[in-house]
Amino acid sequence: MQLIACPWCGPREEVEFSYGGQAHVPYPDSPAELSDEEWAHYVFFRDNPKGRFAERWNHSAGCRRWFNAIRDTTTYRFERVYRLDDPKRGGTELASSRKEGTAP
């Protein structure tokens, strides 16, 4: 079984984790001014790249903490895991990333 390295607990089996979708989706700067379509894009629209992808994971059967991971969606290989308070990995390195603060 694939092991995922929790930043707190170390390598654990994949079944102990739950998936949290794309990481680093910025909250809208001025949410009150968003149109319904822009809200829909913020709430529902996520990148679906082939290649390296920044994701959120939760160690739900262990320490129950959220963390981020860079995972390759083609090989399923975890390249790096990092805590939420770590600085964001440079967006340009990823296969696809949403630019901060811009409307979709």
Binding site: W8, C9, R12, E16, A61, C63, R64, R65
Partner: protein
């Protein structure tokens, strides 16, 4: 009106546990008071107020004199006490951590403890637990939140020779886990176990 009896969730398994040989001994730990502590930063102030240095290394536990302090997360611990009632423990710990911005909640009824002792205990646990329990990496003072069989558990290592563990399991999963442990221990026993529950 029906009389309410307080029975242990594993009352029906005690007879089977007693039949197990010493190499895979299982005993039900007595009820203890347990408090879940959330605290952002752990410093000298918190240690002085609580009377114990909360472990900050992941997956460890320390004895507190009358109980244990178990690391559950970077800002979360489990404090147990054998001498205080749940109400007393909660009040004492809450008074200690509240001024520091923390919180304490009585969770005594959440988990029960099973003590696993004997030379083959590591083999029994290995049947349903993926983490490395070799004493070289899981010696006394180690803990792990993981799954055993299908149940989420907190594992505590009580010895450096991997022959003494405590499994904390949620009360509603205790029956399942007891059945699972008896089944896993079957190959190390010579006496047939009853299944009359």
């Amino acid at each position: 009106m029906a009389e309410l009896l307080r029975t242990h969730p594993l009352e029906a398994w005690r007879a089977d546990f007693e039949r197990l040989p010493g190499t895979v001994g299982i005993t039900v730990e007595p009820y203890v008071a347990v408090v879940d502590v959330r605290l952002g930063t752990v410093g000298a102030e918190a240690s002085a107020a609580l009377g114990v240095d909360l472990p900050t290394a992941p997956n460890t536990w320390v004895p507190t004199g009358t109980g244990r302090a178990v690391w559950l997360g970077p800002d979360e611990w489990l404090l147990t006490s054998t001498t205080e009632t749940p109400e007393e423990l909660e009040a004492r710990v809450r008074a200690a951590v509240l001024p520091l911005g923390g919180s304490a909640t009585d969770v005594s009824a959440q988990r029960i403890g099973l003590r696993l002792t004997g030379a083959r205990v590591r083999d029994v646990l290995a049947k349903g637990c993926s983490i490395d329990l070799h004493p070289r990496v899981f010696g006394r003072g180690s803990s792990a939140q993981t799954t055993l069989g299908q149940a989420g558990v907190v594992l505590l290592a009580l010895s450096d020779s991997a022959d003494d563990h405590v499994v904390l399991v949620r009360s509603s999963f205790a029956g399942y886990l007891a059945d699972w442990l008896l089944d896993a221990a079957l190959e190390f026993t010579s006496v047939p176990l009853t299944h009359d529950r």
